[in-house]
């Protein structure tokens, strides 16, 4: 291996400066980079910049009704942080299915997003929570809604020299309903076949706001806007849940791979959202 240079800045400014004019790669936990490194004979970076010592990228807070998670928030933090457990237990439910405990100790939320994989497990719940990604770069700071963050298979809107500083979402509030399901071939250390997430905010008997999303069935995880529209403003029963689930199925475009066929995935894109919506709202499921 030709090797590469290494820098471990301690500030955001230092990290941005280090990347200037270099063929760089930012890393933090390393759980994507090191396994990839073995196959990276060509695209090797000149410089690896370790962000794990940038304290400004750490920490979870609740401010102005918004849960803000520093880029270095790990999957273990999703399982243990009190603010996350209280405000968005869907993230803890997802994290419990994310790889295994040792990977969760290192894998960061920003790393999971920047990797851009269709099966990135943290993305469907964050989409359903309507998260926003905050970036800092040579051109200043900007914020991108997560549903506009991915531009294709392993492609994101992140520009050269930019880093993710924070992932934030409006706290869905007390009494919100949620559901998450990871369909995979094992209980742990598995790549998701279909991931589905639902976050439902209620008012009176009606669904005030819905966030429904799917992972592993499109070039990048998607929000199912049609399904959300079907539920919003209505008192949801089985028929409406079914209609929303069909809209999810229509929004999916899965492929065949070693884990499952496209046909099976397509079916699950209806079954899982229906199940999640019904379970979240306490609607008895006659079938499925």
């Amino acid at each position: 291996m030709r090797g590469f240079d290494f820098a471990a800045p301690t500030t955001i400014q230092g990290a941005l400066k280090a990347a200037k004019g270099k063929k760089y790669r930012f890393i933090a936990g390393g759980t994507n980079f090191l396994p990839d490194l073995r196959h990276m004979h060509d695209g090797l970076p000149q410089l690896v910049i370790d962000l794990s010592r940038v304290d400004a990228l750490r920490g979870v807070s609740l401010a102005k009704g918004e849960v803000r998670m520093g880029a270095l928030t790990t999957m273990t933090d999703f399982l243990e942080n009190k603010i996350i457990l209280r405000e968005a237990p869907i993230l803890a439910a997802m994290s419990a299915k994310f790889a295994g405990p040792i990977i969760r100790n290192r894998a960061t939320v920003a790393g999971n997003l920047i990797d851009g994989g269709p099966a990135a497990d943290s993305v469907p719940p964050l989409l359903a929570l309507k998260a926003v990604v905050r970036l800092a770069g040579p051109g200043g700071k900007r914020a991108v809604p997560l549903d506009e963050f991915f531009t294709g298979y392993r492609r994101t809107v992140v520009k050269p020299g930019e880093i993710i500083t924070e992932v934030a979402f409006p706290a869905p509030g007390k009494g919100h309903k949620w559901g998450y399901y990871k369909l995979a071939r094992r209980n742990a250390m598995a790549i998701t076949v279909v991931g589905a997430a639902a976050v439902l905010k209620l008012k009176g008997g009606a669904c005030r706001e819905a966030g429904i999303s799917l992972g592993s069935v499109n070039p990048a995880p998607i929000r199912c806007y049609e399904a959300e529209k079907i539920l919003e403003g209505k008192a949801v029963g089985l028929a409406l849940a079914q209609k929303a689930a069909e809209a999810c199925r229509a929004a999916s475009a899965p492929i065949d791979d070693i884990r499952a066929s496209a046909e099976y995935r397509k079916l699950m894109c209806e079954v899982l959202p229906r199940r999640l919506i019904c379970q979240a709202l306490g609607i008895p499921l006659d079938q499925g």
């Binding site: 291996m1 030709r2 090797g3 590469f4 240079d5 290494f6 471990a8 890393i27 936990g29 390393g30 759980t31 090191l34 396994p35 490194l37 073995r38 690896v48 370790d50 794990s52 273990t76 419990a96 790889a99 295994g100 405990p101 040792i102 990977i103 100790n105 290192r106 209980n187 742990a188 250390m189």
Partner: protein, 192 residues
């Protein structure tokens, strides 16, 4: 005349060709090495390694061969060590990232003369067959019991989900961790 000069030049460059190849070979520079100082099981360690060296290779090359190399992709858990008290796959950390950090391997958890209850129970209950997964498994179990001193069998299964064992079928490993938790709880009780 002009053509003659050109020919001369061409002949000259053809002669130089082998020299250029050797020049290219001489231009190879080995990857830059970085000084890394960190602590392993309480001892100060100073090392030097290229930036792409994983913590797994760095530790093994320094003689800490109790850290096992299984998959090098974060899948098997054989290389599990504690990094500042947190269980990590050493194959997924760059050696240079360990600068100033504290590493604990299975030998830092307990020694042959002074076994940790987890190690003792692994031996007593036959939770070790070929032994390759054992160092990582014990470090993972150690972190689990730090977080949850009395885990249920289901919680133990979830706690060692990142550590593969191809021999035991896991039942005896789960038995051993459960027994160790019991012993640690009762010895804590005696102390207080």
């Amino acid at each position: 005349m002009a053509t003659a000069t050109k020919k001369k030049k061409a002949a000259g460059s053809a002669k130089k060709a082998p020299a250029r190849t050797s020049k290219r070979a001489a231009a190879y520079t080995p990857p830059k090495k970085f000084p890394i100082s960190f602590r392993v099981n309480g001892s100060e360690v100073r090392a030097e390694a290229p930036a792409h060296t994983s913590l797994l290779y760095l530790l093994r090359d320094l003689g800490f061969t109790e850290v096992k190399n299984g998959c090098e992709a974060g899948d098997c858990g054989a290389c599990t060590v504690l990094l500042d008290g947190v269980a990590v796959n050493a194959c997924c950390v760059l050696g240079v990232q360990a600068e100033g950090r504290e590493i604990t391997t299975v030998k830092g958890i307990g020694t042959v003369e002074n076994l940790h209850p987890i190690q003792k129970k692994f031996i007593e209950l036959g939770a070790i067959q070929c032994g390759f997964c054992t160092p990582g498994m014990i470090v993972a179990a150690y972190e689990l019991l730090e977080k949850k001193p009395r885990p249920s069998r289901e919680e133990i299964k979830a706690g060692i989900a990142g550590n593969l064992c191809r021999c035991t079928g896991y039942v005896k490993i789960i038995d051993a961790i459960e027994a160790a938790a019991g012993e640690m709880a009762s010895s804590k009780g005696r102390k207080s």
